[in-house]
Symmetry: D3
Subunit: 214 residues, 6 copies
């Protein structure tokens, strides 16, 4: 399961006097998934979308490359993602990203914690908030609204069978509309899907995410 | 949480001598979700799609009505659903429905167990198979291929963080290609999303599903 | 673990254009358990009891045939079962069957979900109620009394160590007497036993249950 | 939930210099259950059985007194118990008691751990074995046969839905017959029932058990 | 995993007519851990401490012998243990031992349940209280203060990520000071450490603990 | 539970057009624990130790300030910590920090994930390795030795009762000595203690950790 690392020659000593472990993740993360599916020729729409990603982010997120073996699948994913995370909603973009990370923390998804942790740091201007969403949202100093939103998203992730009217009532109590409740559920649901695609395929995030907005 | 049922007049006695409980679910299931979002005017594409559902199934599945408060959301959902469940794949349509039900059983999702349990019964011509997928897939007499597929989908549902190369290797061993592994993960992921939307909103299945293909 | 299915010749095409999966469960369920214990000569009482089953139900439930390798065990089981499920009690027969199915759902017992799901459908005259008990009792429209009863039975099943006075108080609050509490616990306990006998031996329900009272 | 203890006058100092906590359990355990159901007039058979208990054990086990509010229930319980724990079987009486305690440990049942822990100590002549069954059977030095038996019983208790042919095969491998497998499952099942009756009713063991066979 | 027990000659018959199982635990427990680390030469302080143990208890607790392969580790352990369990605190020594056993029960630690169960019996003068802490603290008749203390310690053990201000508030409500809360957490934390050292190394308690203060 | 955040005046707009969330964590983390225990006068040894921390790290880790209300407790903690994490061992310092973070990830401990995540980044010279230990160690590219070590530490954390000889054998197979096994268990055990102290007291890490060695 774990490939034996080759110790490369002449490593710099760390301050503890031990040779540093060679950085592995960046190299390994050039292989985007364990499936090795070949990218298909992009449709015009998807070629334009990838170009837009490069202009705005500086790179194409690996999840898009992972889906690119099949254009209809990529287009369906992009359409749903953009609607959920970017279209008008009673939830701010930051709130949607906070849900994404809190859900991915329950599911311990390396790809989504990395990519969306960076998004929380960037959108909030609060690098620590991204860490807290990934580590344990209960330790964060949250508004009552944020806490209710994440309590619902996390319960829906961990024990969906137990979500009932009382849980929806807690959201309404915190000021969320019926439409907002749909959006919280939809974002939480979407990352429960994405987390599983990523885990199933050993999807690796673009290394550039790690240093962003620290 | 539980509304007091009104005992309607003059119930037929059951053979145990006790008055029968009035059938509730059919009535209640006319309210599709607990959110009460109003359906938007359908786009042409969606109007045509609903019409096609009525022709083929005799009804529009409630999940579509639940999404119909917002056409972009409905269209994104329909596009992804149809690609996953109906487009060409190394998995048969029945296999995809078996995954849908086994995943929904882990998550105890009333809507999806009902709607996709009916699909398993119909596609397999084996009513008992639908029951087994909903109750405990481990009790079903499955081929090695089916068992490997469902073991993967269920582990991915219950503990996605623990899925590793050994799990993919078991699928390859059972004859699945890299693309097939993607499809198993994508269907399992999709129902992990849908199960949560349904639980979050108390989505009710069309009553007609219950009696189909028994 | 899973025997390879033989594809029998000339299958009818399903409407999806895929060959239907041959119905398996009915055949396989003629082997009642994985243990292959031989039925003993029935005592007079048990011969009479089997005859009564055939008259009333049209068949002898497989659980009785499973126990029939040893008459003292069969008689003890029948005595306890009939007292619990049929003797006078503050709980209706339907309520006792609802407990049976909700408990069996936690334990995912194929035999008991099938046999007692049919009983819930028959006694309630509400086929959907049987499905709800098997899938997720929390999604059913229940009276406060029914809900309290099932909450207690399910907690007692899933985490018996955590049942305390507060749980009994909730039952009393819902109108149950001390004797009723005993009966709820006794039925829940009994199916926690039966579920495990069935799972341990791969006990298969009589196929006829599946279609009853739909 | 917890009644305030009255500190009775003039307690003996413990060697730590702190006043000893007054022994509570013995007093409280004179109230056998939290339900307060009144014992019914015993049938002749049950009166004789209670007398036999007193002769052999010196007391009537509280579980019998708990059931004694209703003679048919008591008789059904006694018949099943005696068949399972005392009738001829490929399992020794000690092995059956070891299963009882290991199962009760998973369910953390105070009554059964106390009463059957004493039985393991008495039957084995090894007081430590009783402790190990109650605390963690995996820490005991067991024969391969004993370990296989308890692994099966404990898995059947904790996740009955996951018991499959491979689990039965492990028992056969360890030398158990089909009938022995039934008996292991039946004893494990029975204590899954009894544990829940005891927890549901706050059943208290006879204090005399605690000091026996130490 | 389980060594085959040798049946020694001429065993005394038990009253059930079955040959008694030879007492194993006492023998096996002369090997203190599965690691076989050799005791180092004791420092003066540790030699004196061992001598004091023998004087006060009649023996050196095996956990100390287990640590004795390395004097700095032993000294650090002894310093922390004595501060936590014996230094002045708002918690009585008995309360600290009750936490030790309740935590060890969650973790099912044979060593700590045995050694600290004996301490609860001795300090309380209530042998049953030790059993209740080991079996299921919820079944014990506790003061509101004791119950709050153990609820906190057990939650902190089972799901530390979920402990929040509401949990601390419950302790304050029960009369505990900030310093007391630290002490409850520190004792619970310490046994979460010790339980794991003991399980990791198969640490065996001194057999003498079993019979103490019964 | 969640204090209402005050929106401070004149926030900079983020690029999404939404006002940024004011950075909270840094402010809040100046209150080290929720207990408010006052620091005691330091002993000479501890004063010197704090000075050394400031020289080497630039700050005193908050966990030390949290313990500083009581010098004996602080000294015992420091002695054990330094022995475990810094004294000679068959495990490198990086390996010990990897265990610390993998254990803290199971327990979702904000303090320890932050402080020791930084240590993994610094000691390894591989910032991504720190993220992987915190998010899901199974996703990291590890040597067989590292994987065996973390599998043991994580199982010991999540289900200590199930650790047995087979688990120790896997460590020996990976080249670990008896002494190494002790050290793995001791470090894993220590962080199971520290994680709980931190969660119980809402201990906040020094904000400076977050940006270190990125």
């Amino acid at each position: 399961m774990a490939s034996q690392r080759q110790k490369s020659g002449n490593p710099v000593k760390s301050k503890s006097g031990e040779p540093p472990r060679r950085s592995q993740a960046a190299d390994d993360d050039t292989v985007i998934t364990a499936l090795g599916l070949k990218e298909a020729a992009p449709t015009d729409a998807m070629a334009a979308y990838f170009k837009k990603c490069e202009e705005k982010l500086g790179f194409v997120p690996n999840v898009l490359r992972a889906y690119a073996f099949d254009m209809p699948k990529l287009e369906a994913f992009v359409a749903m993602y953009n609607d959920l995370m970017l279209a008008p909603s009673g939830l701010t973009k930051l709130e949607r990203e906070m849900i994404a990370v809190a859900v991915s923390s329950v599911n311990r998804c390396y790809y989504c914690l990395t990519a969306h942790g960076a998004a929380v740091r960037a959108l909030s201007g609060d690098p620590v908030l991204g860490e807290l969403m990934a580590m344990n949202f209960r330790a964060a100093r949250l508004s009552a609204r944020e806490r209710a939103m994440l309590d619902f998203a996390v319960k829906l992730t961990a024990e969906p069978w137990a979500v009932e009217e009382a849980d929806r009532a807690a959201l309404r109590q915190a000021g969320f509309s019926a439409r907002d409740i749909w959006d919280i559920a939809a974002v939480a649901g979407f990352f429960n899907m994405s987390n599983r695609l990523a885990s199933a395929t050993d999807m690796r995030p673009n290394p550039v995410y790690h240093g962003r907005a620290r």
